[in-house]
């Protein structure tokens, strides 16, 4: 997801420390943008859940540079979200103990909520979870 003044439409970004309290901030970020784009309330709830799972997984995989990085962009009639993941294995889990069932659930839930959900390599090599809603 590139963009901004010189590369396509303006994009949205949120950065916080990679810590559990700010997962709520990321949910609010997603919900706020979704409201601006007039997405239905049910879809907003799905986005909050997918965002929460993607952020929990970012924490569990160690994230990148100690930051939780979330981006969003409008593409046509869709609102696309991206959450930067770490390269740590879920089993390692950093400081935050993540039970293996929960770890598996993160991606499963995101995929169940959004058909186009994918885990891709971002421009700088970091793994990114991407999903979109309309």
């Amino acid at each position: 997801m590139t963009g901004g003044q010189n590369g396509g439409p303006p994009r949205f970004k949120l950065t916080t420390p990679l810590e559990p309290p700010y997962i709520a901030t990321a949910r609010m970020f997603a919900a706020s943008l979704a409201r601006q784009f007039d997405l239905p309330e049910d879809t907003i709830e799905d986005l909050k859940l997918a965002m929460s799972e993607a952020c929990a997984r970012a924490v569990a995989t160690g994230g990148k540079d100690g930051r939780l990085d979330v981006a969003a962009e409008r593409r046509g009639d869709r609102l696309v979200f991206e959450v930067v993941q770490g390269s740590g294995s879920l089993a390692e889990g950093g400081e935050v103990a993540t039970d293996s069932m929960e770890a598996a659930l993160h991606l499963e839930l995101i995929g169940a909520l959004f058909d186009d959900a994918e885990s891709v390599a971002g421009p700088d090599g970091a793994q990114v979870i991407r999903f979109s809603a309309a």
């Binding site: 309290p21 997962i23 049910d42 929460s52 659930l105 909520l113």
Partner: protein, 113 residues
């Protein structure tokens, strides 16, 4: 934490009712785990988790509920959920947990089961 997760266990016959409020995620799930754990350590075997005041719940919360269900069952009891909002019903249904954990509309219904 985002929203204060107010949790207040109370007795109803052979059931312990735990009222939960706020948003349950990776940040706040440990609080829920502690409250349910304390109830179980205190002798509760049948626990009704009242989710009426819960605005959000993700897999971190589901993990706590499943873990507590297991502990209740091991003690010969049960764990039930009361009045989850629509988005929470959805996540329970997506994960198939609605087939594993009984869901009731009211505390009365749950505790007279």
């Amino acid at each position: 934490m985002t929203e204060s997760l107010f949790v207040e266990p109370k007795e109803r016959g052979s059931w312990t009712v735990v009222d939960v409020k706020g948003e349950i995620d990776l940040d706040t799930a440990p609080q829920l785990k502690a409250v349910l754990g304390d109830a179980i350590k205190g002798g509760a075997i049948n626990i009704a988790v009242n989710l009426e005041g819960v605005e959000f719940l993700d897999s971190s919360g589901l993990g706590v509920l499943i873990g507590s269900l297991k502990r209740c069952k091991e003690a010969g009891g049960m764990l039930a959920l009361v009045s989850p909002r629509r988005p929470i019903r959805k996540v329970l249904s997506i994960t198939g947990l609605d087939k594993v954990i009984p869901i009731h509309d009211t505390v009365e219904e749950a505790t007279s089961a």
